[in-house]
Symmetry: C2
């Protein structure tokens, strides 16, 4: 399928800066929260960038918007397409609607009603397919063939990576220089973007579920692994690390810390009860990593990107 050439090239720090200018007014400038209790608990000084309060509920809206608005007009008029049952699908639908173009979202037929409704309320054209990777890819190919839409990969795309980097750039712009930033890593868009956004001397760390530790293994070995059988409650982080993403992360990340699901869920409960933010487990893996690797972060100024809040309301059923 035809893609803008620049989407396939490794993005740079300048791409993140340009994305930030482009996205001003198009994405939300999300709040940054602090907590004395969590500072005491971790020994670090933490700033939480609330991307779960981004439009469509996740940082994904940044990357999707940057892709949509940089798409050449002759391609844009045919719309955009992707496969995603989660935050990227809703984000691309919303970004496309804002630009006045169509978004075709290929979704596995076992998708939850909540996630489907989330894509449809932003006007996404949903195409259901069987729940396996081959079916997703062939359905996407068919949609692109039929409509002429441009495929926007959820993370392995330079415009998407640059867009995600604006979350970290905005955080630094608001709170000043940081010693380190920690983001979740699934496909690697948010983490690679943070690497590009970080000024020299600022460490960038990925936090990854132990049950989907391909980024940690790839980082350790220096070769992008592709054997991957994810088993984690962090459903936003089950994807395999992307190619463009791996190159950026391997070159300039400080570490990838892994956390068990129990650790991520405990961290999620801390964020719920102390920060009062209903983040998803995939966002809380960051705090889990900081608690686990305490000595590395203690005494330092650390940014934490809370990536998404796509928790299912059914999970609140035990509430009063």
């Amino acid at each position: 399928m035809a893609l803008p050439q620049q989407w396939l090239m490794s993005p740079t720090s300048r791409d993140v800066e340009e994305a930030a200018r482009r996205l001003g007014g198009r994405v939300r400038r999300t709040p940054v929260l602090t907590s004395e209790s969590l500072n005491t608990l971790t020994g670090a000084q933490l700033w939480f960038k609330c991307e779960h309060l981004q439009k469509t509920g996740a940082f994904k809206f940044r990357g999707a918007t940057n892709a949509v608005v940089t798409l050449p007009a002759d391609l844009a008029r045919h719309g955009v397409a992707t496969h995603s049952s989660g935050n990227h699908g809703a984000a691309l639908a919303c970004a496309a609607r804002a630009a006045g173009i169509r978004a075709y979202i290929v979704v596995p037929e076992d998708v939850s009603a909540t996630k489907l409704a989330n894509i449809e309320r932003y006007g996404g054209q949903v195409r259901l397919c069987e729940a396996n990777l081959a079916a997703r890819e062939s359905m996407l190919d068919a949609v692109v063939e039929e409509t002429g839409a441009t495929f926007v990969h959820p993370y392995d795309n330079a415009a998407v990576i640059a867009g995600q980097g604006t979350a970290t750039l905005e955080l630094i712009g608001e709170v000043g220089a940081l010693d380190a930033v920690v983001t979740p890593v699934g496909g690697g868009g948010l983490l690679a973007g943070a690497v590009l956004a970080a000024p020299p001397g600022m460490e960038v760390h990925g936090a990854e579920p132990l049950g989907a530790d391909d980024a940690a293994r790839s980082f350790a070995s220096g070769v992008r692994v592709t054997d991957h059988a994810p088993d984690t409650v962090c459903d936003g982080l089950r994807t395999l690390l992307g190619v463009l993403n791996f190159d950026i992360i391997a070159e300039r990340c400080a570490s990838i810390v892994t956390a068990s699901d129990a650790e991520s869920l405990e961290a999620m409960r801390l964020i719920w009860s102390i920060l009062k933010q209903l983040v998803e487990p995939s966002a809380a893996v960051t705090l889990a990593a900081i608690l686990k690797d305490r000595d590395r972060f203690a005494g330092r100024r650390v940014g934490v990107v809370l990536s998404g809040g796509n928790a299912d309301p059914a999970s609140f059923s035990g509430a009063p």
Copy 2:
């Protein structure tokens, strides 16, 4: 007991402005959130002022801080005292610690462990008493007698009311002119403060649980009622409307809307799932009121003060 004379006089709009200058740097400038989904649902344009993200978890920190920092030095050196099992106790303890003075908090012996821990972590000197009003008041008298501390009433105090008003003033300063603001009403500090903060032409509405509707009845009759047998899940709003508070509210409020507990809990779930903010039921009564009195607010720019997030973590037990 001896109290600063100005605390017993009705506060003015100027007192709120002075409090805002005084509190700058001492209290958090809390985020303001918006949601297209909630705008669609209510037909109004809503701005949510996140006072549940205020230090100590509630707007109460504003009033407590304003009282502590306006206390004359000869009184302040003996500390402050109050009776409260909830947000005001923690807020006063924290405000006193920041000012380097003691806070004695009289707490009924059936207090939850969470609330007790919340007061103690801010260095409050806890004095337990029997769980009835007479015991609370006599214990408070004894503490004041023994220590020389100054009683800071949770709401029926001019400095406290002026402090609470800064939440509304800050909201207007950030988002511009509003047609109306809605706050919860229990003792009436937050609502009376909003009245004083509101410029001419801006309506101020109280939202109250049906099971503790003394403010609504007082407002309707023009006489402050004192028959009060609260029965509501909104535990922050069970208190009787204060005397200073009633005078301000009766004179200049637009309405007091009552909502059932079922309506407040439904509104709370909307705030949890859409805004991703873990507010307590007492905060959600505002959205319940807006949904209930839809025609009054539709098409208008409306501020909503989310008052607190003192929900018990045990209530999250059904979560993943």
